[in-house]
């Protein structure tokens, strides 16, 4: 039976892009189905009834949700491509730990800092800086978080390599500066230079337009 792989995603979402990057990395062909998040399709609601979010991977009609879980599924299923996770159990635990750290402790704080003000913004910036310090230490001496090749943590941190800079510019903040985080900055360049990443980055102009729209909507309700 021919394999059917589909991705329900959103063009601007780093979570959605993680999955596309990983599939391209593995050399797996898939059909991409763009989702309108303001008007969620029956398809999305049917395949992710619990969270109603993107991304969702459909493999021969079976849905998998939550991007990091999808990445592990991709690695488990398409073993002929390059590995996303190392073979050694301790290295695997290490990768899972840092991938989760990015999602739980880094991204939310960066996001919060961009959309908040005053004391709340200061606190979020402080938390984000602490998280970035840990990641700066973690990448030291390595080309990628995964070592010589890209791995789970690199995909997880995709937001930092690209989206973060754009958001920061728009909110007048600074996160990943070369001065403060030289190793992370270098990693971001390397990561964005990979073909499976480069081909999957949302257009900057389009993103600025969307974020400005979001800002307008946010400030008009304040």
């Amino acid at each position: 039976m021919a394999e059917e792989v589909q991705v329900l995603g959103s063009w601007a979402s780093p979570f959605s892009k993680r999955v596309e990057m990983a599939l391209k990395f593995k050399g797996v062909e898939y059909e991409y189905i763009e989702q309108d998040l303001k008007n969620k399709s029956p398809l999305l609601l049917n395949y992710n009834p619990v969270h109603k979010k993107v991304p969702v991977l459909l493999h021969n009609g079976k849905p998998i949700a939550e991007s990091l879980i999808i990445l592990e599924y991709i690695d488990d299923t398409w073993q002929q491509g390059p590995p996303i996770l190392p073979k050694d159990p301790y290295q695997r635990a290490h990768a899972r730990f840092w991938a989760k750290f990015v999602d739980d402790k880094c991204m939310p704080q960066v996001w919060k800092a961009c959309w908040s003000e005053g004391e709340e913004r200061e606190k979020a910036m402080e938390e984000a800086s602490k998280a970035l310090e840990f990641l700066e230490n973690e990448i030291k001496g390595k080309k990628f978080f995964g070592g010589d090749n890209v791995g789970l943590v690199d995909f997880s941190a995709n937001f930092l390599a690209y989206w973060c800079g754009i958001l920061a510019e728009l909110s007048g903040l600074q996160f990943l500066t070369e001065e403060k985080y030289p190793n992370l900055t270098k990693w971001a360049d390397e990561f964005c230079g990979c073909s499976f990443v480069k081909e999957n980055l949302p257009d900057k102009g389009k993103m600025v337009h969307v974020f400005n729209g979001l800002t307008k909507a946010y400030t008009s309700t304040v």
């Binding site: 493999h59 599924y73 159990p89 635990a93």
Partner: protein
């Protein structure tokens, strides 16, 4: 320390620590349990989990592993010859991981808020959320168990451990909050009994009465410090 020595930093009331202990028991791994004193963090804890400074931490030889679900997966993968904890099929693995993440990210914050939130809308919303969550898990149980006693089928698996860690606390929340949670889910209720009686669980599952005392203390402390 020998390269194969296993230590677990934890505390007996913690649902997360319990997960690690059950996984070690399933694999029949000998380990030293190092109990952290409530309210303090030992030097060993701070050294082996500098990022989060939390229990549990599994220390295997020189290698520290933190985050309970990551620890359980590590135990499953390192001691691969023992009974399997994660399903062997990649899709079923993804489903088990999905629900385990749901329990930690969505369900538990609601359950906790039943005790911690002030009376009124917040508490009502938390209870509603927790009940809805358990209904989803009741459904998931029917799909995953394939007629068996556990989410893992005939034997305890990853999702059993993920939810089972909270079993004692669910009972405590029901009692302290005077609410019904698992009581309204007949399959989960039966599952809970089977889980509690399993060989790898029964010696490490804390007594509900003792947990109840700890809960009273924690809730009072949390509410008092929130007021200042």
């Amino acid at each position: 320390m020998a390269s194969d020595e296993v230590k677990l930093l934890g505390a007996w009331p913690s649902p997360y620590v319990l997960r690690a202990r059950i996984a070690l028991n399933i694999k029949r791994v000998n380990y030293e349990f190092l109990e952290e004193k409530f309210g303090t963090k030992s030097d060993l804890l701070l050294k082996s989990n500098p990022v989060h400074k939390k229990i549990p931490v599994l220390i295997h030889g020189e290698n520290p592993i933190a985050e309970s679900l990551i620890i359980v997966q590590y135990i499953d993968e390192f001691w691969a010859s023992g009974p399997q904890i994660l399903p062997s099929d990649p899709y079923n693995r993804a489903v088990a991981r999905f629900w385990a993440a749901y329990i930690d990210d969505k369900w538990y914050p609601n359950a906790r808020a039943i005790l911690m939130a002030d009376e009124g809308e917040a508490k009502k919303a938390a209870l509603q959320g927790a009940i809805e969550g358990l209904n989803l898990l009741e459904d998931a149980f029917l799909k995953c168990s394939n007629g068996g006693k556990f989410f893992g089928g005939d034997k305890i698996g990853y999702l059993d451990i993920a939810l089972g860690g909270f079993l004692g606390w669910i009972r405590v929340i029901e009692r302290m909050g005077d609410v019904t949670l698992i009581g309204n889910c007949p399959n989960l209720l039966k599952w809970g009994e089977n889980f509690a009686g399993d060989d790898s669980v029964k010696d490490v599952l804390p007594e509900t009465e003792k947990l109840f005392e700890v809960a009273k203390f924690i809730v009072a402390k949390t509410k008092a410090s929130a007021k200042h």
